[in-house]
């Protein structure tokens, strides 16, 4: 299936001379959730801003569902909803008025039923007549999401959607994003919370220093890069790793009670069986054993570090 967004050779140099994007190529699959991870200043927001038409690219091209964002901007933009990172809201307007305004701005005829459903989905219905400035930060964030959804976009950009949002609300937002995905909306979110990407995304893109470092299906990424650890709790502490076991990548904890074995998930022979047999041969007994997978966070940190 053709990707819904195709980005080719995208570059951006700001007037200050700062080069925010250094040739980005990215395909965003239709109907998926793509999480764009990257440290501050990596170019996440610049990338989103160019696709949405807020920032002009220095070079390169972007098409949205086949529409070039420069030549065919009207068609491209009608498909996109944007939730910006900053809480930029009108102050004196009611929630209802500001969300209805957004719908009109994107060229859709008024439809109170749609606005009502969106406000109810976001638990804003009770606040529809309240002025935006009287709302809490979390509610303002939801107003921004309601504005972005008001014209029923096919693609939703969420720039740090849960920054400064409490845990409970964050869960609620994840659920809402999941429902949107089920209805066929493609979602691109940037985040600092790896947990968020791990929880929701179908694909993960890592951007660092203005370049896309990697884009991969989440599961494949975890498989490919995920190292597993086998931890054994020893019955009797060891002073050192026996010489016979030197061939294994083992580490011993300081108190000598824990033996950690690193193995690669990808390989057919993990070497666990052989290791356990050798331990038995040497009379090393253990009370417990557990395996863990390295988290996306560890993967991310190691990726960004490699680049730096």
């Amino acid at each position: 299936m053709q990707p819904i967004i195709e980005i080719r050779g995208l570059e951006k140099t700001y007037a200050s001379g700062f080069q925010a994007l250094k040739g980005v190529d990215l395909d965003i699959p239709r109907g998926e959730i793509l999480a764009l991870l990257g440290p501050n200043g990596a170019g996440k927001t610049t990338l989103i801003s160019i696709v949405c038409g807020i920032v002009r690219a220095t070079a390169g091209s972007v098409t949205v569902d086949g529409h070039d964002i420069v030549r065919d901007w009207r068609a491209a933009r009608s498909l996109i909803g944007l939730v910006p990172q900053e809480l930029t809201t009108e102050a004196f307007e009611s929630v209802w008025a500001t969300v209805s305004f957004s719908r009109g701005l994107f060229g859709k005829p008024p439809n109170p039923a749609v606005i009502e459903r969106i406000l109810k989905d976001l638990s804003l219905w009770e606040k529809r007549d309240t002025k935006v400035m009287a709302l809490s930060g979390g509610m303002k964030r939801r107003v921004l999401i309601a504005k972005a959804l008001s014209h029923e976009p096919r693609i939703l950009f969420l720039d740090e959607p849960t920054a400064g949002v409490d845990v409970e609300l964050r869960r609620g937002m994840w659920e809402m994003i999941g429902r949107l995905r089920e209805s066929g909306v493609t979602i691109i979110l940037t985040t600092h919370y790896i947990e968020e990407a791990e929880e929701m995304a179908d694909s993960i893109g890592v951007i660092s220093g203005g370049r896309i470092v990697l884009v991969e299906k989440k599961a494949a990424l975890m498989e490919k890069l995920g190292k597993r650890l086998l931890t054994l709790n020893l019955q009797n502490p060891l002073e050192a790793i026996p010489a016979e076991l030197a061939g294994y990548p083992l580490t011993l904890s300081e108190d000598g009670r824990e033996l950690v074995y690193r193995f690669d998930n990808q390989q057919e022979r993990t070497g666990i069986a052989g290791l356990l047999r050798k331990l038995g041969d040497h009379g090393i007994t253990y009370t417990n054993l557990r395996t863990e997978e390295s988290s996306l966070e560890e993967i991310f940190v190691s990726l960004v570090k490699e680049r730096a």
Binding site: C52, W73, A75, L82, A91, K108
Partner: protein
């Protein structure tokens, strides 16, 4: 043409007018009434008739013009500066709406407000002085042209300004003096010859003169020249607005 977007901006901007009805309408109406009381009723009686009309009646077109052009600048500049200041401009920039449509929405709302204000001042003036309108169609034409032109100027100002101070400084240092010296209170022919020539560099003179002509049939400068100058200002403002959107000046990085 994204008509829904134009309508959305227009309604949104007009809603701001209703919300701030008192300061946006009552303020100018009250201050104009004060001008009539002071210059028309109190002092005006001692003045000879100017160009064949009483001084009070002579004041009416000038005062309407003065309020309309200062309010147009202030409304339109505020209308576009506010979303730039609060950051909500992102939405307009990311929407499928062209520069032309954006300007129709914002400038249309500001101009509408000015036209309503001008009409209200005219009605208020009727309470103080007796006047007639010789060419009502031209009167409306000048009122609309001026409202639109100065709303465009305000739009440009609102895009240019980086802070509240800059937003205030142009109306205070340029628009208001030009309006005061634009022949609202006097006929250009009352000035010494040197100042008559200097005054001809003030664009407001042509507006006031043309507008006054539509009331009383007498003018400081030929009415065709007034019309041409107003149209020229409109074209200049349109060109600047076009350039702003073309280059993304202060709107897009």
């Amino acid at each position: 043409m994204n008509l829904h977007a134009i309508k959305a901006i227009y309604i949104f901007e007009m809603a701001r007018t209703w919300r701030t009805l008192f300061q946006s309408i009552a303020g100018p109406v009250i201050s104009t009434s004060l001008y009539f009381i002071v210059f028309g009723a109190a002092i005006g009686g001692r003045f000879a008739a100017v160009e064949g009309v009483s001084y009070g009646a002579f004041l009416v077109p000038g005062l309407v013009m003065m309020s309309v052009l200062t309010e147009s600048v202030s409304n339109a500049s505020f209308g576009i500066y506010m979303p730039r200041y609060s950051g909500t401009i992102y939405e307009v920039l990311s929407a499928p709406i062209s520069a032309f449509e954006t300007v129709i929405g914002y400038v249309g709302a500001a101009a509408t407000k000015s036209i309503v204000l001008g009409t209200l001042i005219l009605l208020t003036a009727r309470l103080f002085v007796d006047f007639s309108i010789a060419h009502p169609v031209w009167m409306v034409a000048f009122l609309v042209l001026t409202s639109v032109t100065f709303s465009l100027l305000g739009f440009i100002l609102g895009v240019w300004a980086d802070g509240w101070e800059k937003l205030q400084i142009v109306p205070m240092l340029i628009v208001t003096p030009l309006a005061f010296l634009g022949g609202s209170f006097y006929s250009v022919s009352m000035l010494p010859p040197f100042w008559q020539n200097v005054t001809l560099f003030n664009p407001v003179v042509y507006l006031v003169s043309g507008f006054r002509w539509s009331f009383y049939g007498a003018a400081d400068v030929p009415v065709a020249l007034s019309l041409a100058m107003t149209a020229l200002m409109l074209v200049i403002c349109l060109a600047v607005v076009w350039w702003i959107f073309r280059t993304g000046y202060k709107l897009k990085n």
